[in-house]
Amino acid sequence: MDLATPINGTLRKLPAWTIYIVSAAWVTWMFYLGATNQLGPEPINVLEREYGELGLKLLVLGLLVTPLRKWTGVNLIKFRRAIGVTAFFVVMAHFLVWALLDVRSFERVWMEIVKRPYVTVGMLAFTMMIPLVVTSNNLSVRRLGAAAWRKLHKLTYLVAILGAVHYLWLVKGFQIEPIIYLVVIVVLVATRYVSLNIRRQPA
């Protein structure tokens, strides 16, 4: 049975900007809950974690677009730019909560970035997203040329892997969630380079 066709039909009706609206609303809503003491006794930590995890989830979703089309025929390509750009802004929110509400000192922020490997790695991933978000528009694709543009945007693979490493590195003890993120991301990146022979049968 072909499920991809009706799913694609439904997705076609959904504008790509839905991703921006829903994510921005969620980020704002969480901040509002934190500011009004509805996120438990430690709202700063909750916001850091929630924004960080959403950033990682969006990166996973962005990486999923191509393999999903290859394996199931479900086509999310028109959402991919919105997913990537949103991931950048959510990760920026994660960084800002950490820098402005948690650490609160330029000096200490810099010291943490330099001194703590998990922060260094996270910061590196965030920085690498900047050229990606800046070139996430049609004009840049034209200017760079499709080949160069595509090559640049392969940075996403590294960003996602570093993001998962950042998460894994900061938890205490043997925790399963960051390991799952890392494994999923590594597998999704690997599909770009290794043929898994999971081809969709011609409809």
């Binding site: 438990g40 006794p41 709202p43 609160r104 205490k172 003890g173 043997f174």
Partner: protein, 299 residues
């Protein structure tokens, strides 16, 4: 032996039951020794504001019930705490399995308002009710060769969802040097705000060592062993580079992955600033226990 350390507060100052959810301004209690000049005036005069019972019971690390801060409050209801017995063994005169009531019988429960500093760089102020550990140890009779006290947390796999996930090598174990265990600040807590201690806080009885990172204050204790060798401790077994046997609060010695110079007191909301972490968590009276030791080496 009780009352060897005092908050310099009357009970009326802090815990009318109706005031659980109110924040009250309270004077810090390094006064006992401060009065004879061993404590700096800064520590003695600092105001401590206890966290609410709601905060204390909803933000916990108790990995047997999950790794999220809200997991213990959600999952610890399944813990079976009655009847409860504690096995006392090793180098003691009166070893045996003691019912909780028996081991506490005749001992004085005091209120101790302590700072509580987690190794993750957050902190609370908790009004514990507890017994000096020294009283319990004297009751069971510590033999002369004993140098350390080892503790063990209960394991109830069917009631503890985190145990199957093996985040740590359970049962959770901890230990103190005998002089640390006998120090007047070291208590076995059975209550908070004059209420029986909640399961997620380590019911029915837990250790509280206020000058050490919170993970040293082992919860839901079922075994106490006197020994002449430094006992293994759970986080040290999991990662010796990050968690030492002593684990004294020390703003000068960072955790390998994060700074210990500052802490955030729980309950301040989204816009609360960090505060500086104090040496020995603000209990300088314990410094003499570590005289001659390089505290950047004996972490």
């Amino acid at each position: 032996m009780a009352y060897r350390w005092t908050n310099n507060l009357t009970r009326a100052d802090i815990t009318p039951k109706a005031a659980f959810l109110n924040r009250r301004q309270i004077l810090a209690g390094t006064v006992g020794l401060g009065a004879i000049g061993l404590v700096g005036p800064a520590a003695a005069q600092e105001a401590l504001e206890p966290n609410t019972l709601e905060e204390i019971t909803s933000y916990n690390n108790y990995y047997e019930f999950g790794t999220g801060k809200e997991d213990p409050a959600r999952n610890a209801g399944a813990l079976e705490t009655s009847p409860w017995s504690i096995k006392v063994d090793g180098m003691v005169d009166n070893p045996g399995d003691y019912a909780l009531e028996d081991i506490l019988a005749g001992l004085t429960v005091e209120e101790r308002i302590y700072r509580f500093r987690c190794v993750e760089a957050w902190s609370m102020v908790v009004p514990w009710n507890g017994i000096e550990l020294a009283d319990i140890l004297n009751k069971v009779g510590v033999q002369s060769g004993a140098k350390y006290v080892a503790f063990e947390t209960v394991v109830q796999p069917e009631n503890m969802i985190g145990v199957q996930r093996r985040v740590l090598d359970f049962p959770y174990v901890e230990g103190l040097r005998l002089d640390e265990a006998m120090h007047p600040l070291t208590i076995m807590a059975t209550g908070i705000y004059n209420e029986p201690i909640a399961n997620q806080n380590g019911a029915p009885i837990r250790l509280v060592v206020p000058w050490k990172y919170g993970f040293k204050s082992i919860k839901s204790i079922v075994r106490i062993t006197l020994t002449d060798e430094e006992p293994p401790t759970s986080w040290n077994k999991a990662n010796a580079r990050e968690y030492g046997f002593y684990s004294n609060v020390n703003p000068q010695v960072d955790h390998p992955r994060w700074s210990q110079a500052t802490e955030r007191k729980i309950g301040g909301g989204l816009f609360a600033a960090r505060q500086d972490t104090l040496m020995f968590n603000g209990y300088p009276e314990v410094a003499s226990l570590y005289e001659g030791m390089d505290l950047s080496e004996f972490i």
